[in-house]
Amino acid sequence: MSFIKRYLIPRLIQYVIVTFLGLTAIFLFPRLLPVDPIKQELVRYQTFGVYVSPEQQEQIMKTLRQLYGLEGTLWEQYLSFWGRLFKFDFGPSLSRFPTPVNKVIGMALPWTVGLLSFTTIIAWILAVIIGGIVGYYRKKWMEVFDFIIMIIRPIPYYITSLIFLILFAYIFPIFPLSGGIGIGTTLAFNLSTILNILKHAILPALTLIVVGFCWQFQSMKLITQVAKNEDHVIYAKIAGISDSKIVSNHVIRNAMLPMVTQLGLQFGTIFSGTLITEMVFAYPGIGWILYDSIMRADYNLIMGIMCISVIAVTTSILFLDLIYPLFDPRVRYR
């Protein structure tokens, strides 16, 4: 069928190529790091005061090199990387040896994905709606709102989160200072645990939403300002269609289209985007683990996480591309 030939296949090919290139880049980058995972490990023993005698050190280096699978040429390692990737096995984490990478990721990923998919989507929806409205009406109080957003947006993210923390965890101690789950609580599937988790997620989520919202709000507003001068909008206005309908049916509906693509890319920040959140809120997640693994040159873990990241992003873009025709009937025709 020519839909498959013309629409699906090219996109799938593009998807495969981009994913392939992305994964290759991910294989190569960490190996260029000036940090050596084994030496890094050794130094950690020393820094934390575990005395390692020189003889012992030599032994550790030899054993670790073997255990970490860091032998062989780059090319051999690259081939075995693909081999393992297809089995979805990234080997043991080097810095958290001998825990398998999959396990490390498995423990952290749900938190990140949970927090981020929620906040990304909420921020996006809010931005689309409010950005559309503000972009369209431009009333006085909206200008004020716009101005506030403009001021909040550039504030470095960790300052924003710190302010939230001081406000809602210190001055008004409504929310916990840190963590993803209450102290002494073990993970279980019951109402009180879920509530507990939600309570801990509110502040991080709030900051992520505020920051995400501010960014997207402004692009939505700009898109709207262009969209509201489109012929069909002016026509609807002349025809006496109420403003609220114009905003919802014409302006937001149409300006949303480029925002859909942005949403896809937004998912790309999931993995790097939570790093600072996790640092500030001591929140569980993959960001810190990734950061830490870079610092320790934990190739396997870096690759594991980044592979998931790349695959998640390309897949979500592919997905959005495939459902894009639902949003834009013109694409269906082309």
Binding site: F29, M150, I151, I155, L222, T269, L275, I294
Partner: protein
């Protein structure tokens, strides 16, 4: 030239442009002042530490015995340098890629856009961290850090430019240019470039604020530039890590934050007012009477 002055005069009627222009001017003056600083920005314990703003130290001094005002002048200069280098080089890449992908189409288009897409799907903050580690000595210099940031910020704008070019390509005057025997390169340079100039301009400004933001984030993580070199990011990082907030040295913390906000507002308003002004539709409407 007269036209330029006229354009400027006209832009000044937009309050956003005026305000942002004044802020910008102010920051540039700050940056220039750095050349007259009585203190070496990387030296510490030059003045008594932790003094609140006063006549001698208009923005007070920090815990490291540095005059916050004079630190700021360097920070502004350095951050702007990074931002401008980033914006400049990423624009060059974006324009070349965008125009060629859009104008040549076909294979060229697909290859360039694929490369661009690839850089977009990589978790770039992470890659940035990795690269800034790999190229440690190399990124210890504003210019190189700018180049590095540039490498990660061209793809999206290249796409925007490409789509513009795609629609321009279909317009009759390009056909006329082809019929007048113009070679591709000249068509690109003479016929297409002027049309994408407004986008280049506004994305330049947006890219600048992105670069400043990235520098701040990298500094927070202790990456990027040598932390003893003042930039808005490193100033902020030191203030935060050295407990300026709890020590009550608010001037130390507030200075980089307020400067960052001012700078972002200026850049944002500049970009908005310019893009409104340079919007081809608006522009042709204005000219064509």
């Amino acid at each position: 030239m007269r036209k330029l002055i006229g354009l400027f005069y006209d832009l000044l009627k937009d309050y956003r442009f005026t305000i942002s222009f004044i802020i910008f001017l102010f920051l540039i003056i700050l940056a220039i002042l750095s050349f007259f600083s009585p203190y070496n920005p990387q030296r510490t314990y030059q003045v008594p530490s932790g003094l609140p703003p006063s006549k001698n130290h208009i923005l007070g001094t920090n815990w490291l015995g540095q005059d916050v005002f004079w630190q700021l002048t360097f920070a502004v200069k350095n951050s702007l340098t990074i931002a401008i280098v980033t914006a400049f080089f990423s624009r060059i890449i974006a324009v070349i890629v965008g125009i060629f992908a859009g104008y040549k189409g076909g294979k060229t288009d697909r290859i360039l856009i694929t490369v661009g897409d690839t850089t977009m799907v990589l978790p770039f903050l992470i890659i940035l961290i990795i690269i800034s580690m790999i190229l440690k000595d190399w990124t210890n210099n504003f210019f190189n850090l700018g180049l590095l940031l540039a490498f990660f910020s061209w793809a999206w704008d290249a796409r925007v430019i490409r789509s513009q070019i795609l629609s321009l390509r279909e317009r009759d005057f390009i056909k006329v240019a082809v019929l007048s025997g113009m070679p591709t390169m000249r068509i690109v340079r003479k016929q297409l470039l002027p049309h994408v100039l407004p986008i280049i301009f506004t994305t330049f400004i947006n890219n600048m604020s992105w670069a400043i933001g990235m520098e701040i984030t990298l500094a927070y993580l202790g990456l990027g530039i040598d932390p003893t070199i003042p930039t808005i990011g490193t100033m902020l990082q030191t203030a935060i890590y050295r407990q300026a907030l709890f020590m009550g040295l608010w001037w130390w913390l507030a200075t980089p934050i307020v400067t960052a906000i001012l700078l972002f507002i200026a850049l944002y308003w500049l970009s908005v007012s310019l893009s409104e002004y340079l919007d081809p539709r608006a522009r042709f409407q204005r000219v064509g009477a």
